[in-house]
């Protein structure tokens, strides 16, 4: 695997009033990897995601994206960067006044000025890719279930075939079949496009199935990073509990057993 660093975070500090969320946090994201971020509730996984995306201004720290410091970017450069990544928010964050198809087409319309027929085709392809039924396109987000909204959000995140995809708890709210289909999809896209995936997740099955590397957030920083095998040998009590707990063992068993066919 190429070890080009696409995003690097150094000495990040996030603070809300007296509450320090991150302190001296370092993290590298390598090109073409699937990085899973795990951590207990309130350890600032989502804050980290939002900080990298530029939605949250850190107190101190340096964030480099494609080798360029976020704080030194001009607005035009920021826009250019934003077109190179896609984000799936926790509940999809679809625009409620637009249909699913229109949601997917927003970026195409804004950035690429495509003819409508091509946008409709691309939207249909993305809708199919994320496993939504064809009649989901003309529906409004409020007419969809939570799981379907998530898929629609993913379709929107993938519309520009970005280099990096940020996923905030992507498989939460999906049924197990949908969740593994989603894992499979990410794997395929990554293989074809050299996609880099930054994934905040609690789904141990996803961690086992698709994550190349896992970063554990605890004690206000990235405690350890490494493969799933590395995690299993960690002595830190929270990490032990997480990966050796009943769910961790079940996911491990599912991974090591040959799939029944």
């Amino acid at each position: 695997m190429a070890r080009d660093v696409v995003i690097s975070v150094r000495g990040l500090r996030n603070q809300f009033g007296p509450q320090v969320v991150h302190d001296r946090l370092d993290l590298d994201i390598y090109s073409g990897e699937v990085l899973g971020i795990v951590g207990g509730s309130g350890t600032g996984k989502s804050v980290l995601l939002r900080t990298i995306l530029g939605l949250n201004k850190p107190a101190t720290g340096r964030i480099e994206i494609f080798g360029q410091a976020r704080s030194e970017m001009t607005p035009a450069e920021e826009h250019a960067v934003e077109r190179r990544w896609g984000v799936l928010f926790q509940d999809g964050a679809l625009f409620s006044s637009l249909t699913v198809a229109q949601n997917i087409q927003v970026a195409l319309k804004e950035h690429l000025h495509m003819p409508q027929h091509l946008m409709d085709e691309i939207a249909a392809v993305k809708i199919a890719l994320v496993g939504l039924p064809p009649d989901a396109g003309p529906k409004f987000p409020s007419e969809l279930s939570g799981g379907m909204r998530k898929r629609a959000g993913l379709a929107r995140a993938l519309v520009l075939d970005p280099e990096i995809v940020f996923l905030d708890e992507p498989t939460a709210g999906l049924d197990p079949i949908g969740a593994s289909a989603f894992d499979e999809l990410i794997k395929n896209l990554q293989a074809t496009l050299g996609l880099t995936v930054f994934m905040v997740t609690h789904d141990l099955d996803s961690l086992y199935a698709i994550c190349d590397r896992i970063a554990v957030l605890a004690e206000k920083r990235v405690l350890v990073t490494g493969t799933i095998e590395d995690m299993l040998t960690q002595e830190h009590p929270w990490i032990r509990e997480y990966f050796h707990g009943p769910r961790g063992r079940a996911a491990m068993a599912a991974k090591t057993q040959p799939p029944r066919s």
């Binding site: 409620s96 006044s97 198809a101 195409l108 690429l112 000025h113 495509m114 003819p115 091509l118 409709d120 085709e121 691309i122 249909a124 392809v125 993305k126 809708i127 199919a128 890719l129 064809p134 009649d135 396109g137 003309p138 409004f140 987000p141 409020s142 007419e143 993938l158 519309v159 520009l160 075939d161 999809l185 395929n188 896209l189 293989a191 074809t192 496009l193």
Partner: protein, 379 residues
């Protein structure tokens, strides 16, 4: 060989009468989709026996590029050609298979004749209006029922919540209601004095200001401001709670939203609108008195004496009969529209607008009805 150069993605086409060889080159990704689409559309698909895509020179392929290849292949197949795709790497082949699932366009939305459309929308609006009226009456019944239950069992009243809403809708509205009433009172006196001067009746400016403010303008102004200020707030509060399923959560916990959310707001407005109306009327009289003093040179003492002669107790009494009804109606519509929010954030906005418009409308209609009633009763 025809080279179709299109930025960083292009297509080499070599062809003879019956076969077609297509070599996608460069980056077939979404950024170049418009160019690629044009290049592919230029291909003559009719009458080919074989068509081959050679992907071995392709640098990059994403889902959009794969879709465009798939779509062209499908068109060629339908035209009777045998299509093969050569030189695809394993991930590219996976991607081509994946996009095949997207081969189903959503049905086109039906188009209507614009005239028919207008009629359809008018009908829908009319039906909606009728439906809303029925539901509003039902909602009023529900409020009265809940109110009745609470009267029978006063311990069920949410005192904290009611007082909170009294502060929000009443106390906090005092400055703006006072200011507007004061200004309108002054304007009314000023304009009235100008007109009445013409036939020497400027002394009746006092009657004009006193009667109109005590009977009508004071309470009407207040009600309109409360509808805009608090009715809309009720809709937005209850509406966003509805969106986040808080209302449903309440029901599952055995709490009655009518009792917890609606009644405190209704009681708050029933109590506060008369008080605000009274403050408004006083400020209007104050504004009028100030103008009368400055413009006509009538001393404040004289103004009070004239005031005493001009009004009888029913002029003020009328306002106090109307005010609680206005409060009830505004709160009812605010809560009703909030309860009707569904789906999206946009719905909150629409309902809030509807709440203000309906609130002001119904206040004015009911005020007219009251006027007729009081005239008939001779008070």
């Amino acid at each position: 060989m025809v080279g179709v150069a299109q930025g960083e993605a292009w297509l080499d086409v070599s062809e003879d009468a019956s076969s077609l060889m297509l070599r996608p080159q460069g980056d077939w990704i979404v950024r170049h989709a418009v160019a690629v689409d044009k290049a592919l559309a230029a291909i003559d698909t009719i009458g080919r026996r074989t068509a081959t895509f050679d992907l071995s020179h392709l640098r990059k392929l994403d889902t959009t590029g794969a879709w465009l290849i798939y779509r062209t292949g499908r068109t060629l197949e339908r035209a009777g050609a045998a299509v093969t795709i050569a030189g695809a790497t394993a991930p590219q082949a996976t991607l081509l298979n994946a996009v095949a699932k997207g081969d189903r366009l959503a049905e086109e939305r039906p188009h209507y004749n614009p005239f028919v459309n207008v009629v359809v929308r008018m009908g829908a609006a009319l039906e909606e209006a009728g439906q809303t009226t029925r539901e509003l009456v039902a909602f009023l019944g529900l409020i009265l029922e809940t109110l009745g239950k609470t009267v029978l069992n006063p311990l069920r009243m949410r005192a904290t919540s009611t007082v909170y809403h009294m502060e929000q809708t009443g106390l906090n509205a005092v400055p703006i209601v006072s200011l507007i009433s004061f200004l309108i009172g002054a304007v009314l006196a000023y304009q009235g004095a100008e007109q009445l001067k013409r036939f020497g009746g400027e002394i009746f400016t006092v009657n004009l200001v006193a009667v109109s403010f005590l009977r009508e303008i004071g309470i009407l102004l207040t009600a309109i401001m409360v509808a805009g200020r608090s009715g809309s707030a009720f809709t937005a509060q209850i509406g966003s709670m509805k969106l986040r399923e808080e209302i449903d959560a309440m029901r599952t916990l055995g709490l009655d939203p009518m009792e917890v959310l609606v009644l405190p707001r209704v009681i708050a407005l029933i109590v506060m609108v008369p008080i605000l109306g009274f403050i408004g009327a006083m400020m209007g009289l104050f504004g009028g008195g100030l103008v009368v003093w400055l413009e006509l040179g009538m001393s404040p003492q004289m103004y009070l004496v004239r005031l005493n002669e001009a009004v009888d107790i029913w002029d003020a009494g009328v306002a106090f009969i109307k005010a609680p009804v206005f409060g009830l109606l505004i709160a009812m519509i605010g809560c009703f529209e909030g309860m009707k929010v569904e789906g999206s954030a946009e719905s909150v906005g629409q309902r809030t607008t509807a709440s203000v418009v309906e609130g002001i409308f119904i206040v004015i209609v009911v005020d007219a009805l009251f006027s007729i009633m009081f005239v008939k009763l001779g008070i």
